[in-house]
């Protein structure tokens, strides 16, 4: 039975400033219909269009170092980092704490980027170009890490922190297990830090994050069940902590048709029911639909709790999606992919 938790008097007011601000920022996001138009634009046109939007400062600043796809990619990432840091800086108290907990995913992303760069022998300058310092670790600290000589040096730099247990998974041959452990660590820390506070705002953040874990696991299941991977391997790749973890774990390794039938009746089923069939050739379209479902879920929840962390969360998810959509379009166009294929990957909520 759900327990009704009333907010303490005055608590939602803490969120008034930041929610007002993100709702204004939301109006500056690129509208969904622009993605279709961007697909018909030349690279220079896309850069010019982005210059008319919130990305102006970054495009102007980086245009002397980069051009074409690289310019757009770096400018969008730089803007993402700037925007998220701004959200963190202009909030206080509980909102600030919760935003930082959410943004730690970019620390994980940066550590992964540095590891991958070192693993494949990239220089520290190349690695630094691809960092997105939107989380707790500062750009300077990450650049210092990138300058270290070997992966083991980087791992030892994290000694004594939470990351050390995940980084200990590195076996010298491949990064997959380490990256999995980092993802699991992120969600574990979130549960520990936010779940421990018992605050209303923290509870709402966890509600969304649990759904996000479910959707990520579901995408893993779609990919791996489609490829016919062994159940034991799939279970290793599922992230614990989701609301439907037990049910989704039982679906690991099922034949694809049976797996799809098992999904009917879940809340996300209606968003994929028209395209999910046993003979589908690629799951990328399902992935895009599921991600779009997650954005709608965050905004729908925020309608019930207008003065809470949820509008901020909805904005952050929308912004991340916008940047990844722009990246998909420009990278796809550069590689000469057909428009339909790019369109499938673009997430429109």
């Amino acid at each position: 039975m759900p327990v009704l938790r009333l907010p303490k008097f005055g608590l939602p007011v803490k969120y008034a400033y930041i929610t007002g601000r993100v709702r204004a920022m939301k109006t500056k996001l690129i509208p969904a219909e622009m993605y279709a138009r961007m697909m018909n634009m030349e690279m220079a046109e896309i850069a010019r269009y982005l210059e008319e939007t919130q990305y102006k400062d970054e495009i102007d600043a980086l245009s002397k170092d980069y051009s074409g796809v690289d310019l757009i990619e770096h400018a969008t990432f730089a803007n993402l980092a700037k925007t998220f840091r701004k959200l963190e800086e202009v909030s206080i108290d509980e909102p600030s704490f919760l935003i930082l907990e959410y943004l730690r995913r970019w620390d994980v992303w940066n550590i992964k980027t540095i590891m991958r760069g070192k693993f494949y022998g990239a220089t520290d300058i190349e690695i630094a170009k691809h960092l997105v310092p939107a989380g707790e670790l500062s750009a300077e600290y990450l650049e210092e890490l990138a300058k270290k000589d070997s992966i083991t040096d980087i791992i030892s730099a994290f000694d004594g922190t939470d990351y050390s247990s995940a980084l200990a998974q590195y076996d010298g041959k491949n990064l997959a297990s380490l990256e999995n452990a980092l993802d699991k660590l992120y969600y574990f820390r979130m549960e520990r830090a936010v779940g421990g506070t018992l605050s209303v705002g923290g509870g709402l953040l966890l509600k969304y994050v649990r759904r996000e874990v479910d959707i990520r696991n579901l995408i893993t299941l779609f990919r791996m069940n489609k490829a016919g991977v062994d159940a034991a391997v799939i279970l290793e790749n599922l992230i614990p902590g989701g609301k439907l973890h037990g049910e989704l774990s039982r679906m690991a390794g099922q034949p694809f048709g049976e797996f799809l039938r098992g999904l009917e009746g879940y809340p996300f089923w209606s968003s994929i029911s028209d395209i999910a069939s046993a003979d589908m050739d690629a799951v990328s379209r399902v992935e895009a639909r599921l991600k779009a479902y997650l954005i709608r879920y965050a905004w729908a929840l925020s309608n019930y709790h207008p003065l809470s962390i949820l509008p901020v969360l909805g904005y952050m998810v929308s912004k991340e999606t916008e940047v990844s959509n722009i990246r998909k379009i420009v990278r796809g166009k550069e590689a000469g992919l057909p428009a339909e294929l790019i369109e499938e990957q673009v997430v429109v909520a």
Partner: protein
């Protein structure tokens, strides 16, 4: 029914009531405005053009004070039933 004859005490109670009417209405409006004010400042930080509309929205709860003030004025100057009791 016992009639309180001391006009001074009655008039004092009346003044306390009038004070509470305006004072509590003011506190209520303040509680209402704190969230609106913070939200308006947040929006204006991103969209300076919103200032006029935002100020209007922020001042809406002020109308509550006018109700309180009206009640106070009626109590102090226009509530005739009391006049009969107060007058000895």
């Amino acid at each position: 029914m016992a009639v309180v004859a001391d006009a001074g005490v009655l008039y004092g109670l009346l003044a306390v009531g009038a004070g509470l009417a305006t004072g509590l209405a003011g506190i209520g409006a303040g509680v209402g405005e704190q969230g609106i004010g913070a939200a308006v400042v947040g929006v204006v930080a991103e969209e300076p053009g919103f200032l006029g509309k935002g100020l209007f929205l922020m001042l809406l709860p002020e109308t509550l004070i006018i109700f309180g003030l009206a009640v106070s004025l009626i109590l102090m100057f226009a509530w005739t039933p009391f006049a009969a009791i107060v007058t000895p």
